[in-house]
């Protein structure tokens, strides 16, 4: 069967997709992050904490959520060192992605900065810190505590 040698038509119409993602119900999270605070939602009716934050409670379906501060201490559950990065991260150096468990029992997925992945072990103590990307958009990362 001919492979690669086959003629293909390189389409003349290119398609670039860039989404406008609604964040009105969690905008408080991003604003707080910009002010250096790490917060999330708690259901005012049943008390369920959620991370990522969400306006509607997945436990009791109540829409009465309130914002609460989160601690920044966490324990490393697992991690990986991403060496082949997707197109939109192609200019990035390889990065470590980790899942950490906060003292509140919530898991968070984020980059783990400044760590040598060959020396990391699940169980390590981490801390959440807040960064700004070059465009000034805040995001959260882990660092080793």
């Amino acid at each position: 069967m001919p492979e690669d040698a086959s003629p293909t038509l390189h389409s003349r119409r290119s398609l670039t997709l860039r989404f406008n993602i609604p964040i009105s119900k969690t905008s408080r999270f991003w604003e707080a992050l910009g002010q250096g605070k790490f917060i999330t939602t708690k259901c005012a009716d049943c008390g369920r904490l959620s991370f990522p934050p969400q306006a509607d409670c997945p436990n009791c379906m109540s829409g009465n959520s309130e914002w609460v501060d989160l601690g920044t201490d966490a324990e490393l559950l697992t991690f990986t060192h991403v060496q082949v990065t997707p197109t939109s991260f192609v200019d990035h150096d390889p990065y470590v992605v980790a899942i950490g468990r906060l003292n509140e029992g919530l898991n968070v997925l984020a980059w783990l900065e400044g760590a040598d992945h060959t020396k990391l072990k699940p169980g390590a103590k981490l801390r959440v810190e807040i960064r700004n990307d070059p465009e000034g958009t805040p995001y959260y990362v882990f660092v080793t505590a």
């Binding site: 990522p52 060496q83 082949v84 990065t85 997707p86 197109t87 990065y95 992605v97 899942i99 898991n107």
Partner: protein
């Protein structure tokens, strides 16, 4: 619900198929399945297409494929359950027949992944989770998701990079005997272990390739099956389940909860247990996924997956042969086609048609298909049997 059997199977060559477009590729399997079943094409009342899509130019592949293959006035849809889209298509076709809505229906799986460049594919797969919280800031990739599981499994059970590499060596060994597989060459343990790191600890040879391919099965009611086939393979039970979109919402990272739940449901529906299975296909998109699947499907105890592959228990001649068609790892993984391809493979095995050294000994006449979508986001488990 009434009995439903697979009476026809078709399967394209898997690989980098720049010689065909999506409809031409699907046609190869449809034609094969129609010819294998001997059914008059007009008897097929329902065509369900499994395809994740996004990497080829057509957004409505179901109608395009039906038009190309000459199906008119059929009930149809495209279904999506990520890498389990093929099983989702089979489930839809199965329910159509089981409910009495149709006598004969067809499930087709197809994916055309190589029309975009590799890193764009990596990007599309990496977005398959909870986009805003996993991809937007952190650039997750599909290997990265499974690497999170690999690191946790290694830490908890002492699983090694060599254990994972053994799965790849086994996959390539059997793919070398499967002319439809993407890879036709054996590899050594050293070659697997020294390949490029993609997302540590997973390397190039821990990962399935990017693949074009299609597969099709024709399903029939008991009455139609008796008329059409001397070797109908019965769908004895299907179980399906799911888990959180965002990986951080999960309790632990050493197994797939969706697999445990779907397999429990499938075993219950089929009234069989893991000990009754003669041959299985497991969802080995990454080598760690196959090791976890052994455990989550109950083929061994939790943490003993690596022991299974070290001892050759999942090879032909072992306790339960798994992925002796090359698996996703070496046969290839055209996303929407994979679940249907697994049905084709287990049907071949139960018919005794796998051929040569990759035919598993069939004793109880029972086979298992395990098809995961995403990183355990979806799971479909199907029990197939030679007896009604």
């Amino acid at each position: 619900m009434r009995g439903v059997a697979i009476v026809g199977i078709g399967h394209s060559k898997f690989g980098r198929r720049t010689d065909v477009d999506v409809a031409e590729l699907a046609f190869e399997s449809i034609k094969g399945a129609v010819e294998d079943s001997g059914v008059d094409k007009k008897e097929i009342q329902n065509v369900t297409l499994g395809s994740a899509g996004g990497w080829y130019e057509e957004p409505l592949p179901a109608v395009l494929v039906n038009e190309y293959a000459g199906f008119k006035d059929v009930g149809t849809m495209r279904v999506e359950a990520a890498c389990a889209s093929g099983s989702a298509a089979v489930r839809s076709a199965y329910l159509s027949v089981a409910s009495g809505e149709s006598e004969v229906s067809m499930a087709v799986g197809v994916e055309k992944m190589t029309e975009v460049d590799t890193l764009t594919s990596v990007e599309l797969m990496g977005r398959s989770g909870s986009y805003l919280w996993e991809f937007e800031s952190y650039g997750m990739t599909f290997p990265a998701y499974y690497a999170l599981y690999a690191v946790s499994h290694m830490n908890r059970y002492g699983t090694t990079e060599e254990d994972m590499a053994r799965v790849a060596v086994k996959a390539h060994h059997y793919a070398s005997m499967n002319p439809l597989a993407q890879f036709q060459k054996e590899i050594t343990l050293d070659k697997a272990l020294s390949s490029q790191v993609v997302s540590w600890p997973l390397k190039l040879y821990d990962a399935c390739p990017i693949t074009d391919g299609s597969a099709a099965v024709i399903l029939a009611s008991e009455e139609a099956a008796r008329r059409l086939s001397d070797t109908p393979i019965w769908i004895k039970g299907m179980g399906f389940s799911s888990d959180s979109a965002n990986l951080s919402k999960r309790e632990d990272y050493v197994g797939l909860r969706a697999t445990v739940d779907a397999s429990r449901k499938a075993y219950g529906a089929a009234k069989v247990g893991p000990g009754d299975i003669d041959v299985a296909t497991c969802h080995d998109c990454f080598t760690i996924a196959e090791l976890m699947a052994y455990e989550d499907l109950g083929l061994c105890r939790k943490g003993e997956g690596p022991k299974m592959v070290r001892e050759g228990q999942t090879e032909v001649g072992g306790r339960i042969p798994v992925n002796v068609d090359g698996g996703l790892k070496a046969k290839g993984h055209p996303i929407g086609a994979t679940g249907v391809s697994m049905m084709v493979e287990v049907t071949k095995q139960l018919r005794g048609e796998a051929g040569g050294n990759r035919q598993a000994p069939i004793k109880k006449g029972v086979g298992l298909v395990h098809n995961v979508g995403g990183t355990g986001h979806y799971c479909y488990v199907t029990v197939l049997s030679r007896s009604r």
